[in-house]
């Protein structure tokens, strides 16, 4: 029975992927590019060479980290979309630390930078959490606004305190070599960073956190039914705050990874490049499963990398990737409904269990009568 369920889910997943491909093909035809050419360019750009495959895998890491953050917060019954801001905050702090790490031994520098990234993201998320928990501001709204603030703050920091390029470009100085995260030397271009180990490690860590620890259990109870949590001695607000802050940490780490395992060894204002929102799409496509998110993160990363390759080779606008990503979410939502036969999706059930505090939207889990 369970396996049948699983097969059904996989089928729907494949269906979504095919439908997204169809949308992509349609768009390509619409702009006059033959899909086979595009597919060829796409393949060689993503997995065709070790160099490109390295890029694809490395770029999947930040996406997965954001997706894991989203999964944790939704399990705790909260929904925030502050990942872009948290990536920027984490990345900025990591840059500030990383620039000072030139004389430290490599491993120490890497750990320090990772901690700085996590700290920056968590602090930024802490603002959202505080606004929600003590001021009753809907976390989705505050996180959206904080994203916009973070964009400007990052913009300012690469023009002000962190500005370090010689020709006055809005970007930081080059990171010292010791601070860069190590990568596999045998691959030409050294595109495969060792941080790809985070893909399996973090996904499994989140799975274990949720299923095998008391903290994860409290988180799930708080997200599953806030009132029942309160009635059994769990403070859903505390768990919600913890979840938001941890998700910020994940996003902050993603910010550090984007910079220190990325292609350019400096911070510029646009380094976030849509990872924050795409990470959400990654989680949604994986139906909020941490392990599934590893696969979908690679798929999304391939879409981005392949999109760039298609632009280079066939002059297809690289924003095709964003269209596909948006379409994927819509398809996933519809598929969820198909799968559950017009009942509630997991996230809908969660939203139904959300409770209002002040302006927080809620709907006190409605009990259906017999």
């Amino acid at each position: 029975m369970l396996s049948k369920d699983l097969i059904m889910r996989l089928l729907v997943q494949v269906g979504v992927a095919l439908a997204a491909l169809a949308v992509g093909a349609l768009l390509l035809v619409a702009i006059g590019v033959a899909p086979p050419d595009a597919l060829h360019a796409f393949w060689s750009g993503t997995f065709g060479t070790p160099t490109n495959a390295g890029t694809t895998l490395t770029q999947a890491v930040p996406l997965l980290l954001v997706a894991l953050g989203w999964i944790l917060t939704t399990r705790a019954g909260r929904l925030h979309v502050g990942f872009p801001g948290q990536i920027l905050a984490g990345g900025s702090l990591a840059t500030a630390v990383g620039l000072q790490c030139g004389s430290l031994p490599g491993p120490v520098a890497v750990v320090l930078i990772a901690i700085a990234g996590i700290g920056g993201g968590a602090l930024w998320a802490g603002l959202t959490a505080w606004l929600w928990a003590s001021r009753g501001v809907l976390e989705i709204v505050s996180s959206l606004l904080l994203n916009l603030v973070a964009i400007q703050v990052a913009d300012w920091s690469v023009r002000g305190p962190l500005q370090g390029s010689l020709d006055g470009q809005p970007q930081s100085a080059n990171f010292p070599a010791a601070a860069l995260w190590p990568s596999v030397e045998s691959i030409p271009g050294r595109t495969l960073s060792y941080d790809v180990v985070l893909l399996p490690v973090c996904a499994i860590a989140v799975v274990l956190l949720l299923s095998r620890t008391a903290f994860g259990f409290r988180l799930r109870v708080a997200g599953g039914n806030q009132e029942a949590a309160r009635w059994s001695g769990i403070d859903p607000v505390r768990e919600g705050v913890a979840a938001i802050v941890i998700s910020g940490g994940f996003a902050g780490l993603a910010g550090a990874a984007l910079l220190f395992a990325g292609s350019a060894p400096w911070m510029s204002d646009g380094f976030e490049a849509g990872v924050g929102f795409n990470g959400i799409a990654v989680a949604l496509l994986a139906r909020n499963s941490p392990v599934g998110a590893v696969a979908t993160a690679v798929v999304f990363s391939a879409l981005n990398v392949g999109g760039t390759a298609m632009q280079a080779q066939l002059d297809v606008p690289s924003s095709l990737a964003s269209v596909l990503q948006g379409a994927v979410i819509v398809l996933v939502l519809v598929a969820a409904v198909v799968l559950h036969g017009r009942t509630r999706t997991p996230s809908a059930a969660k939203s139904a269990a959300r409770r209002r505090s002040g302006v927080v939207v809620h709907s006190g889990a409605r009990t259906e009568e017999a």
């Binding site: 603030v149 400007q152 023009r159 809620h362």
Partner: protein, 366 residues
């Protein structure tokens, strides 16, 4: 008058109008129980739709229609997701945002190899009224969109309070069961709300692109959709509160635009900020007089002290006039910061969100 002159007012109103229209649509939709977090995406589609049609026809009125159709399409998508398939509205909103960003950027790259620019909407002076000093040039020498926005807001205000339709709509967001029991279609009202919101956001988006500046750029709405949502929250789901919120955001935005050019922060800004805080404190006092709770009162007095301290600092700043310059980016962040401060200061407020906001209606719950 220093930086707060007539041109300042004009620019504030130009900034306010699209946010106000989008927020009014969002308010109607939220009163019906549908929360569209993807408003930013809808604005973008409206902006691009307007630009696209304008480029094709060269007629600005038809261009606006294009924007409205774009907004309507996304409204339909939101309706299908939120009302028909009943998926989580916040997740649907995120999908709309991403789709809006992606689609407009993609089509813009593809259709327009070179950006095109058009003449924005002409300003129409209303006879007699436009001759009134200060108010005349500010309020009655505006473009057609701004007049139309004013009309829409008034019509919505009347419709919400004076018509059966408005009562039904408000009831739908509060208690869909009651509406259903009265034989009124919950689905129909929610669709109406979502589509109206789509039309408003589409028109507002078109104004941002072709109406105001005459060009389209990727992600050019720059968070106005989020500001509109914040305004609805801050305004306590009431039109009057919403208007106040939009006014505050617009004045901040206009101020920062001015200050970017000025450099040093002139004295008027400190004085204006001090006055603003004093007004806020005053209204708080009136409200807290009504509040009976001890806890509330203690909190209010703490906030009052903080406010007075801020006023004192601002007065000192106004007298000393230090040569402070803020970098442009930080000025740009100002409206959002202010929106956050406003939301936080409101705290857990009296006007609650519509009870059934973002809750899909399932009839078996009757």
């Amino acid at each position: 008058m220093g930086i707060f002159d007539v041109a300042f007012l004009v620019s504030a109103i130009t900034i306010a109008a699209p946010i106000l229209l989008a927020a009014t649509g969002e308010l109607v939709s939220e009163r019906a129980g549908v929360l569209n977090v993807g408003l930013e995406g809808v604005l973008l589609v409206g902006a691009f739709g307007g630009y696209l049609v304008m480029a094709g026809t060269g007629n600005i009125a038809v261009g606006f229609l294009g924007g409205i159709v774009g907004g309507l399409l996304f409204g339909v998508l939101m309706g299908v997701l939120a009302i028909e398939t009943k998926v989580d509205q916040i997740v649907s909103g995120i999908a709309l945002t991403l789709l809006g960003y992606g689609l407009t950027a993609f089509l813009n790259d593809d259709v327009f190899s070179k950006p095109r620019a058009f003449d924005p909407l002409p300003r129409l002076a209303i006879p007699v009224l436009s001759d009134v000093p200060v108010l005349g040039p500010a309020l009655f020498t505006q473009d057609a969109f701004i007049y139309a926005t004013a009309v829409v807001v008034v019509v919505v205000a009347l419709a919400l309070t004076r018509t059966t339709w408005g009562i039904n709509l408000k009831a739908t967001g509060e208690s869909p069961v009651s509406v259903d029991a009265a034989g009124v279609s919950v689905r129909g009202l929610r669709w109406a709300g979502v589509l109206f919101s789509g039309v408003c956001a589409g028109a507002a988006g078109a104004y941002i692109s072709i109406g105001d500046v005459g060009v389209f750029r990727e992600a050019m709405t720059g968070g106005r959709g989020y500001l509109a949502i914040a305004a609805v929250l801050f305004g306590g789901w009431r039109l009057s509160g919403l208007g106040l919120a939009v006014a505050i955001f617009a004045v901040t935005d206009a101020t920062q635009l001015r200050l970017q050019a000025v450099g040093d922060i002139p004295r008027e800004v400190w004085v204006a900020a001090a006055l603003l805080i004093l007004v806020a404190l005053g209204t708080r006092r009136v409200r807290s007089a009504a509040a009976t709770s001890r806890l509330d009162r203690r909190r209010a007095s703490a906030a009052g002290l903080a406010g007075l301290a801020a006023v004192a600092v601002l007065v000192v700043l106004a007298i000393v006039r230090p040569a402070v310059t803020l970098p442009v980016s930080l000025w740009l962040a100002m409206p959002y910061v202010l929106a956050l401060v406003a939301l936080a200061a409101e705290g857990k407020r009296r006007h609650k969100a519509p009870e059934a906001l973002a809750v899909p209606y399932l009839r078996s719950e009757v």
